[in-house]
């Protein structure tokens, strides 16, 4: 599964550290293809909505006034043949027009842009913390496989890994709420006397903790199994034979090699990061895209849900593309394969 790790003896044919233009083009093309398919799914899924799709897109659903419905039907292209309608849809998506959200009374694009940064801030912080902690914990556990540290951390990791993120958030809230130490809702407090950035930071403590704990669980398990793959490699015996301290053998030799296959898996787990963001933002009323999804479900606000699905998918596809392009630069084994 870690693929290229078996190609240790492979000869690197290309001396350049940069991936070839052909490789970049291929990856870029496949990312664009995936994105295109998201757009197709978005169009057709919501077109097969039962009954009159226009009613699902209208603010007051079945009681919408006929004039507005007619206009909406025109806008959605429901009077046209689906090929024409699809063309129109693609055109508007490409020009950044994702329709109008009736629950937010605004353009979907504007609503999403406004809520994007809180999500990036929250998930990004949690991810960075989780990656650093997860790599460190996983490496230590794998290096001393079977030690008490390994047993304890692996057990904890499997337990948290078995827990939906929001459940951990709910448990924390139900125990901590009465003490009122950390804020439990939202991103800032207008009554706060703290400087604005500190107030936001203060509000981030609980949701970031929850997300980081669950992500650490996943990342440490990945890193642990990656270190286990490396542990018996010959170059480590060589390093030890040179008289290097065990600690240095791990940090300087085993970890860099184990880190690279882990990184691929980190990027591949972006889908779970999105799931975590949606549910944890919901629990903590964090004003990002996740909470927006939950609110959009109440309607359901179909145009907004469509837009959110597109943005979440695009985010994950871009992260995967970055990983695909970055790996050969960082890891010569990928370049060789």
């Amino acid at each position: 599964m870690t693929g290229p790790s078996s190609g240790a003896g492979a000869v690197t044919r290309r001396p350049s550290r940069l991936p070839s233009p052909l490789f970049v083009l291929r990856k870029l093309g496949s990312a664009l293809l995936m994105l295109a398919f998201v757009v197709v799914v978005n169009f057709f899924l919501f077109r097969v909505l039962p009954g009159d799709p226009a009613k699902a897109f209208a603010p007051r659903g079945r009681n919408a006034d006929p004039e507005a419905l007619r206009e909406l039907r025109e806008r959605l292209g429901l009077n046209d043949h689906w090929t024409v309608a699809f063309g129109k849809y693609v055109e508007s998506v490409l020009s950044g027009d994702l329709g109008v959200s009736f629950s937010q009374h605004a353009e979907v694009t504007d609503v999403i842009m406004e809520r994007l940064w809180p999500t990036v801030l929250l998930s990004g912080t949690a991810l960075v913390i989780a990656a650093v902690l997860g790599v460190w914990l996983g490496a230590r556990a794998g290096w001393r496989q079977g030690s008490r540290f390994d047993k304890l951390s692996s057990n904890a990791a499997v337990t948290f890994y078995s827990m939906p993120e929001w459940l951990l958030g709910l448990v924390l809230l139900v125990f901590l709420n009465r003490y009122g130490i950390f804020p439990t809702r939202g991103m800032n407090d207008p009554r706060s006397t703290l400087p604005a950035w500190l107030d936001v930071l203060w509000h981030m403590v609980l949701p970031v903790t929850v997300l980081a704990v669950v992500y650490v669980a996943e990342y440490s398990l990945i890193m642990r199994s990656s270190i286990l793959d490396e542990r018996r490699a010959d170059y480590l015996t060589t390093a030890r034979a040179k008289g290097l301290r065990d600690d240095l053998v791990m940090r300087r030799h085993a970890m860099p090699n184990a880190l690279l296959p882990s990184m691929t898996l980190f990027f591949l787990s972006m889908g779970f990061v999105v799931a975590g963001a949606i549910t944890v933002e919901t629990v903590f009323s964090w004003p990002g895209l996740g909470r927006l999804t939950y609110d959009a479900l109440r309607g359901p606000d179909i145009p907004l849900l469509q837009g959110l699905f597109l943005v979440f998918s695009a985010g994950v596809i871009i992260m995967n593309l970055v990983a695909d392009l970055l790996m050969p630069v960082l890891d010569p084994r990928v370049r060789a394969s």
Binding site: P50, V158, S162, L167, L170, V174, L228, F272
Partner: protein, 295 residues
């Protein structure tokens, strides 16, 4: 003769290895317990206790002798809800896994077996499902699902359709490894058709892998079920662990500090998911000798 004997020996040894595996066995014991609870739910707790109108307990009360896991906002016993909720949660988890495994095995074998345009297209399709975040996709699918389909079935299908890609990728890799072996060349040379090759030669060889993967998929499906219920996309007429947690969140467990309301169903979810994970890890260890020497 000797061939069936050898086969049965091969078949019985993983089972014995599983019996010796402490992690796997503890997982299995937990799962058996929860399975029994789900089957005999009505004997263990009166289903009348699920109805808000018939509840007679104290409102949102902490655990006591009469209500070992406390009560909710309407005075229903949380224990009764956890016992009956196990039915829906386990049913949805298992049924969705069956769909997911069928799709994953079918698409995985086909995309590994057929080269050219068809296999390539299937592989692209699998990759798309691997990359697209499952929760937004599940939310979208659940929203547009025809309303005349019972919600329970809808949730099962949505989870099944969003969770097969990992299995398909695994099965595809295994299929390609098997197809490179000489006995498939022999089958092809003897004129075996695609269906014959796939069903008689590839399928039996990927089955162990699929089975080990099944237990891991169940745990993913159960997490998905509770998550969708928590977001209000589950069956509103049936009690499941996810719905109890959704109600606890929406109806003020946090403001009341009613930890028992969250802890009962929450611990049940974690126990079951973890037990499935433990069984899955044990099976992987037994069926994949490369992993030998790992805990």
């Amino acid at each position: 003769m000797s061939a069936p004997a050898a086969a049965s020996r091969r078949r019985s040894s993983p089972w014995r290895a599983f019996l010796r595996d402490r992690e796997g066995m503890s997982g299995l014991i937990v799962l058996t317990l929860f399975g029994l609870v789900a089957i005999f739910a009505s004997l263990l707790a009166d289903p009348a206790g699920l109805e808000v109108t018939k509840a007679d307990g104290p409102l949102a009360a902490a655990p006591s002798w009469d209500y070992p896991l406390g009560t909710d906002h309407a005075g229903r016993s949380v224990l009764t809800m956890v016992i009956h909720g196990s039915q829906v949660t386990l049913l949805v988890g298992l049924a969705a896994t069956v769909i997911s495994m069928l799709l994953g095995t079918l698409i995985g074998i086909a995309s590994g077996h057929f080269s050219g345009l068809f296999g390539g297209a299937l592989n692209r399709f699998t990759e798309w499902f691997l990359v697209i975040p499952y929760l937004p996709l599940a939310i979208v699918l659940a929203t547009v699902f025809p309303p005349d389909v019972p919600k329970l079935i809808a949730v099962i299908i949505v989870i099944g359709v969003t969770s097969w890609s990992g299995t398909a990728r695994l099965v595809r890799a295994q299929t390609m490894a098997i197809e490179a072996r000489p006995y498939l060349e022999r089958a092809r040379a003897l004129g075996g058709g695609h269906w014959h090759q796939m069903s008689r030669h590839v399928l039996p060889n990927v089955m162990p892998l699929v089975l080990a993967n099944t237990t891991l998929t169940v745990s993913i499906a159960i997490i998905a079920e509770t998550t969708l219920s928590f977001l209000g996309l589950g069956d509103p007429l049936r009690v499941s662990w996810g719905r109890v947690l959704d109600e606890a969140y929406a109806l003020g467990a946090i403001d009341r500090g009613a930890w028992w309301w969250v802890l009962g169903p929450g611990v049940a979810v974690v126990l079951v998911v973890r037990a499935f994970n433990m069984c899955g890890r044990a099976l992987e260890r037994i069926l994949d000798p490369r992993l030998e020497g790992r805990s």
